[in-house]
């Protein structure tokens, strides 16, 4: 887990959510899979898109856009599912970008006008080569969405 302790750099997977560029620490991620068939779950919370069968394992897919208060989006063949490392949960993004390496300390103040909805799941915001990169906090996303029953799988 603490690989990044050794250096001062963090690596982030970037992706597109509607018009936004966002990223998440690569260490929080298990794998990224192309869009596969999602079985919707009736009466589930709005942010739950459904279940997928990943090599015999059933995982929940979130629509992270709903959490962040974005407009409803559509998915296409560029859509990918990013799976969290410690939980059987993933979220769908519109397009996968590069993996970028950044100094841990680099961070800009979160502008005051940013909606609190997105703020809840944000780790920091980076002004990055002409783009604004919102770094999402996997821990916050998971703790907000899962009803606080950490599974044993969480430990390594």
């Amino acid at each position: 887990m603490d690989l990044s302790n050794t250096t001062n750099m963090s690596r982030y997977v970037t992706f597109k959510l509607a018009d936004n560029m966002a990223g998440i620490n690569i260490l929080d991620i298990r794998e990224i899979v192309p869009y596969i068939k999602i079985t919707p779950v009736a009466k589930s919370p709005e942010f739950v898109l459904g279940l997928i069968n990943l090599r015999g394992q059933i995982l929940v897919v979130f629509d992270i856009g709903v959490l962040l208060g974005l407009e409803k989006r559509t998915f296409n063949k560029d859509s990918h599912i990013i799976l969290f490392k410690h939980k059987d949960v993933g979220f769908i993004v519109d397009r996968i970008g590069d993996v970028i390496t950044m100094d841990k300390e680099v961070s800009d103040d979160i502008p005051a006008n940013i909606d609190s909805g997105i703020k809840e799941y944000m780790e920091k915001i980076i002004n990055f080569s002409g783009d604004i990169l919102v770094i999402l906090d996997a821990g916050k996303i998971l703790s907000k969405t899962l009803s606080g029953q950490p599974s044993a799988q969480g430990e390594l």
């Binding site: 009466k43 015999g56 559509t74």
Partner: protein, 924 residues
Amino acid sequence: MSDDSGHVSLDAMSSEFIAEIKDDLASLEPDLLAMEEKGADVDDDLINHAFRSIHSIKGGAGFIDFKVLSDLSHVMENVLMQVREKKLVINSSIVDALLSGFDKMKLMADLIGTDKTCDYEKEKAALEQVLLDKDTDIKKTGTKKKAPVAEPSEEKIEYEPVNPVGESLYFKGQTFLLDKKRLENALDSQKFIYAVFIRFKTDLDLRKKNADAMIDDIKSIGDILYSSLTDAQQTQEKDGFYCVISTILDLPLLSQVLEIHVSQMTLVDKQFTDCETILLKGAASKLVSGGRQLLPRAKEPTTFIAPYESSENSPVQSATGAFQTAQTLRINVDLISKLMNRAGELVLSRNQLRSFMESTVKDNTRAVHMMQSLDMVTTDIQEAIMRMRMQPVIDLLGKYKRVVRDIARRMSKKVDFVLEGADVEVDRNVLEKLANPVTHLIRNCIDHGIETPKERLRMGKLETGTIRIKAFHQGGHVHIIISDDGAGIDPQLVLSKAFENGLIAEDQIDKLTDKQKVDLIFLPGFSTSQEITDISGRGVGMDVVKTNISRLRGVIEIDSVQGQGTTVHLIIPLTLAIVPSLIVRTGESKFAIPQANIKEAIYLEPGKIHEQVGNVAGYEVLRLREQLIPILRLRNILGLKTYVQPPGKEESLEEKRKAIADRRQASPPEQQTDQRSQKNDRRENVWDPTYVILLKLGANVFGLCVDEIYDIEEVVVEPLNECIRHLKCFAGATILGDGDVIMILDVPGIASVADLKFDSIKQARLKQDQKELKKAEKKGEVKDLIIFCNADKEYFALELKSVSRLEPIRPGDIHFTDKLKYVEYNRQAVLLFSLEEFVPAVPCDLSADQVFAIFPKNISSKVGVLASRIIDTIQTDEDLSKDAACSELVLGKLFVKDMMVQVLDQKKLAKAIEQKTVAKKERR
């Protein structure tokens, strides 16, 4: 788990020790309780077992350098030692001291690896007091048999250790002279006999020990029957010397205590006392295999249990399960879950492969054979793994013996605890989640249920109250019934309490039955008040109990008779991870319904739905055999209003997304592409359920409408992720053979979402009983009939109970021989008759695609009666009218839904058939 703060972090080995300590602790408690029960008659096995547990705890604690625990266990061990040597007679106060010590040890075990420590002076003092009290006795009896090493004796037996495996090099060709009496004594007291080889170099010199110190060490844990030390010293033997020891420690423990490697020890088999030849088992050498030399404490199953086998029937052992540990292997639960998942996948692949094989390579006998064996092995593996996760309820319920004892003692009440059905097995997860509610219920039993002995005598009851727990399997569920013969619950008191707390409105009060009043204790908020404990029944935290049970998708029922006691009935699903389920479809979604919940499936004929389904103020009910059954439409329950495009196609993503969003908002479907909207309309407006699945819920039944039913499939239940676990409608998800993920429906959940108000289990049972009683009264009048056609529009019926089965056959498969009709069924030729051969009837039409063979019961040969169509089964008590035109074989006529049905006399028909077969045989 990594630890930066600096104190000793737990490595893998330590955690193994901790796990072992906890296991030992777990097995200690029942032993202590059993000891108390037996009092002075306590048998050696029990004490020895407890002693061993304590001793290995001590050893483990010493290993990981956990002083407080090893210190306390040392004192405990001392007390047990005295008991073992019969210097101390077990009584309740001793057991109290031991149990309090035990509790503290348990607490300590939880503290291992933390910085915390706990105070145990009180417990230690109590234990030491026990020792002091008996000290005088001990002195009288004199200190232990510090038997001299080479005590002279008249009767010596000579024996040679025979090592059948021949792996233990140390004992080849060795002969020891033993005192027969001492040997027999040792064996009688269930001790193990070991031959140990002690090496001067590694065992003594390296550890800076001398031989005498080693001898003393050995004496501290057992007796020395023989030692070759003096010989070795005389002959200046450089290698080492032999000892034959009797001790109650098992091999790994002995090795640990003496710090001698297990390969240098061997267990002497018990049988030599009979034949005077000594057999040495190759036990030691077995242990060191597999690279576990560094962990000699690792328990090797079955190897050490030999001395117990003869006493296996002892009731204490089987009751406490105390000795089971020796035969089990500790496996990480995660690993089992993983294995479970993989087994599930294996089942899925097997299913896929099988269906592929069945459709393509049918003729290849070799392939079919291979498939069969794969099939069998898979099923076996699956079952074995399933069983691995199952735990007997005694693992949980057995614990309550202690709880009951303690609470009862504290409250000065006398309570017996009876457990029935201890071997009923439940999935581990379920068992874990049952612990909390069951503890609560039992606590309530003693706290509020059972009266004080005085009170009980005054009431004319036995002084000692009884708490009875009964567990059994029924219909895919585990039933747990907890009953006491205490005071029961006063409905009036509960009611007034509920009223005081504002849980019930005044105008409701009069309408409540006593049962409903008692049920008020389940209301949340009922228990918040402190005074509630004064109620003579129970009622503390029952809402929590109910919540916990519902979380398991279980049902709780309370039934109380004032003055006589209270019974709580829990019905919990087994949640077997693999359940046979019926796959159904509604709209575009498939669902699995566990077969255990299914009573029957009814096909609703298009166009005739309104005859079968009635509508009462918007609620649909199914008329079925004189019963009105509430029916629900699955799609409405789940809110599946709009058409959901089957996913998987690329362009569908957008639509699907919309559809999901629409469904959630329950908004009318948007106008999409013309084709789709057409489809939408069709679904929305002309929706006719085609199947009703009748589902059992306790003793109640309700129907669920679906569009289609598929096959029964063995599905692997995957628990739902936390974020959707609160959805009541689903019990889990599963992956079908084609890789699709589908949801498994939860029948009680659906009933509660639909807000079905059923009678309580008891009432429903009562009603059912009454119905059956009525039926019995009218016996001979109410019949179940199966109605079928011979030719079109000519209806016949047989009593359902006289029919063994129905089988669809293709007329093309009927073979005609000698004017007889045969069909192959189960590789046997079955003779078929048409009704027109017996009764005046229009001949059966064999030109249809499919006809049916009805196999009547009570006919010796394989005979079927042809029917062109099966119409229905009905229940009727109508009288049959018989007129002169009726054939002999017809009981009478009956009008059912505009059909004139001739009810056949099964007995006469059978007779006629028999005659005909005999006649035909003879003619041939």
